[in-house]
Symmetry: C2
Amino acid sequence: MLSNNVYIIGAGETKYGELWDKSLRNLAVEAGLKAIENAGIYSKDIDAIYGANGLAGTINEQENIGALIADFSGLSNEGIPSIRVEASTASGGAALREAYLSIKSGEYNVVVVGGVEKMTDIHGSDIIEKMSSILDREWEAFYGATPAAMAAIIARKYMHDFNVEKEALAMVPVNDHLNASKNLNAQYHNKLTLKQAMDAIPVAEPLNLMDCSPVSDGAAAVVLASEEYMKRNKKEGIKIIGSAIAQDYLSVGSRDSIYTLKSTKLAAEKAFRRANVKRDDISFVELHDSFSIYALLELEDLGFVEKGKAKELVYDEIKTGGRIPVNPSGGLKAKGDPYGAVGVGQVVEAYLQLNEKAGERQIKNAKYALLHNMAGTGTSSVIHILEGY
Amino acid sequence: MLSNNVYIIGAGETKYGELWDKSLRNLAVEAGLKAIENAGIYSKDIDAIYGANGLAGTINEQENIGALIADFSGLSNEGIPSIRVEASTASGGAALREAYLSIKSGEYNVVVVGGVEKMTDIHGSDIIEKMSSILDREWEAFYGATPAAMAAIIARKYMHDFNVEKEALAMVPVNDHLNASKNLNAQYHNKLTLKQAMDAIPVAEPLNLMDCSPVSDGAAAVVLASEEYMKRNKKEGIKIIGSAIAQDYLSVGSRDSIYTLKSTKLAAEKAFRRANVKRDDISFVELHDSFSIYALLELEDLGFVEKGKAKELVYDEIKTGGRIPVNPSGGLKAKGDPYGAVGVGQVVEAYLQLNEKAGERQIKNAKYALLHNMAGTGTSSVIHILEGY
């Protein structure tokens, strides 16, 4: 391994939500320019752009997103390359990792990573059909499977095998909404009582509306820089000390265990080894809780608690101030779930927290952040561990 | 710059064409397994997969292609990460470059790059609408612009300003078809007379059917390896000595000159500087001639001849045996144009040529290959220069 460290020197994001007045390109440009301004760099400093997006081909009939973003950010005249990275809902984390590797390779010094998704430009429930394009179209989606249905199947089996009550799942959105109430960029600011979380209308039993992340528009961007750039400009920044990605079968039905996120386990092992920190060192985690059940599985497969025991963490330990604070941003349920933006938005939250700029939702003495971005039902997991300074 | 060289140790591809009996995943798996077998490696050797695809979201309603390919290649059990790189018709070259950077970073030793496109799974001329998703949907495609229409506008202005006859354009498909007649994997094997090329039905004047690449299904894959891997296994391979990508405005209307491919110029300068070879050293080029006009512009903007003078090359010099042989594979017009596969397929051709395994179409003493993969109307260009051994 070469020792060219990679730093995060700027971050920006749009509000997440149903943003009827903003298009795909508007969102991407807004987040990108905020991050660039925040980093205090100019277009001539930028070596490359990595754009993360999950569904623009399917929803917006717009491919070639990388070029679109660069063009409308006013960066095309410089010839700055801009490509799109797609790994379904893990596109953001995957793009971050590509940018990280590109700097580690010695090829680039300053790279912008942006994630964007515009999900509300489509008629009503047709979005579910579009979202299902992240599953296996021919063997899952064609037969009616949706992301929510797959999560429900996993939840039912998990709850049965480990004697987990619905209440444990409901604590996940309760925590998310409490945190999001302190995040101006979050899609929802309302606090959620346990009763409200339990009584919401069913989506795919045992999951109800409060177990499922919303349909969101939004974008996030961060600026990465090399060790050389930091030294030359006498800058300090958040350091990426661990980066890993791993894969599982696309079809849930092919996996050895439907409630073990093997991709998360493998990526976590690699990332922790690389970062050389322990689980106990982590100040907070941003988890990919597109469905409440996944938060429980993820806490287990990341190694914070044994399989089947996440129910012991979700009541108190995942709160800010608990043993392992989860989703200070509000998470996918309450901050929002604009597919391609999610993984990059997690970095924005970590950037704020590790710089002690998270305001009301600041986690005290935050030093190490773990970011977990997952594709669909656990097909891919991308994990980054960041260190503050 | 770090000096971790990157080699190509295996290659494979499907036939290109209207492959009604093969799906997106069938094609990807066929090419990938051929490349892996050709490289003589096992799944345990593979560190990562990069999948290139342009339009599966739009055409096939299938995102998350990276995972799909890994899964159906039987590689998911190993946890091998697989992401998709999308840069429109330059997706293949862009994926190759990401794989190259990932090895250069020291993170991976063996990486598979696959490109795939399944374009015929759609009703008749609807494909044109889908293909137009690589343009600016809101400012170009919405008003009826198509890739062919944009190429026609560029051609008309170029022919007017430099006094170029239609015949010069027609020589491009004539050369492509002659070469493809010696390539079993090509979509077309018929030779084309100049008269046939001139008299074909108009598509977007001055371009006729023979000036336009076809709608194609197909896949290609290559295996890349690090210097460390080569030493450990005492292997020899084709070396990537130059890799560069550059960008221009997405909209043709925003550019300074509509017949100067700025992205190609910028990428060529970088790639030649990095490779430390001269134009005259290049044994052959694989050009992104999705429309005949682009072959002329590319020869100029790659630096093989002055702007407006490509007409001096297209009659004899681009032939096998000429000064600068173009598209021994048959090029996009006659080998075929499956978007995401094109850039990777160019590497397959170079791999054969530089290993002296190109059979009837072998270029004598081939030592250096230049591969030019371009997005849409010139939005992005990715250039790789390879060295044989």
